[in-house]
């Protein structure tokens, strides 16, 4: 199954020795790092994010940038409910800043799928 990799601090593989103090905070971070940006502990866990968030910023890209991603398409910064902000695409617009979104997945040939989002609830 798809795993949404939003660790409470993400250890690289294999995980480092846990020599430091145990995690003292519950901050989430993305992308994964070998230590916690908030409390500097290296006692890290992976968690699966809920896959929901809110659009912080949004644009429509109208020129070709990436092969296989034909314009126009929506590019967004999404604030995940766990805290981290993520650069992603919104599929099946329209969308606006403040809309609630939930994760979807874009399959890719020979590569892991990419998390994208679709609007779950328009800003009231």
């Amino acid at each position: 199954v798809n795993i949404f990799p939003f660790p409470i601090s993400a250890p690289p593989t294999p995980p480092p020795s846990r020599s430091g103090p145990p995690a003292t905070c519950s901050a989430h971070q993305f992308y994964p790092r070998p230590f916690c940006l908030s409390c500097e502990s290296d006692a890290l866990e992976w968690v699966e994010a809920g896959g929901t968030g809110t659009i912080y910023s949004l644009t429509t890209v109208r020129l070709p940038v990436i092969e296989g991603l034909d314009p126009p398409y929506l590019l967004a910064l999404v604030d995940l409910d766990e805290g981290p902000r993520m650069l992603t695409n919104i599929v099946a617009g329209p969308a606006q800043i403040g809309d609630r979104v939930s994760v979807d997945w874009r399959d890719r040939e020979g590569l892991p799928p990419v998390p994208v989002f679709r609007v779950a609830e328009q800003r009231g």
Binding site: S57, T59, L63
Partner: protein, 231 residues
Amino acid sequence: MHHYGARPEHLAEIAVAARSWAALNPKAWIRDPLTLDEVAASPLLCDPLRKLDCCLVTDGGGAIVIARKERARDAAKKPVRILGAGESHAQWHVAQCADLTVTPGAVSGAEAFGMAGVRPSDVDVFEPYDNFTHAVLLYLEDLGFCGKGEAPAFIADGRLRPGGALPSMTSGGGLSYCHPGALGILLLIEAVRQLRGEAGDRQVAGAEIAVAHGTGGLAFSTASTVVLARE
């Protein structure tokens, strides 16, 4: 725009101001007159940025010589003093930017002005890294020329254009003069030319203090500000 209500025409004013200066610079890449309506009619690339909100893609280069005051005294050209400088690095990836309305220029600008002992209101010439029109609005606010969200009102009445109260992008900038990717060196050179009185038709009369300000990295992850003064 979402937070403070800036409009596309405020972005367009930056492009028109830069082009107005470029018309006075024989070395500028594009010197044709430009109107707000023409910017608004140019193709939309990534909302709200249109083609004419974006810098040129050109080659270019420059060099500067820096020396101690004593050494510079008998230089071939009249020296310009470096009053202050600041730099800042806030994040790398745009997704790590805590607030898209604030650039690292808020830190580099305060450092540079603090070291120089001058205020934004003392500046005669402003050379911002105009990679995109909206960036100049952010710089004006982050460097303290006006308050956050106030840049659209600040640039009204052609303040940045020739004859305006804060001549900016006086070479024509990255939008109309030259954007080699490393525009910062050209900002310093233009500031020096203005302070030496070598700017020809685009010369800002009596320019004594100039500020060159650049951002870089991925989008706006770093910033550098330099305050220069006529000797």
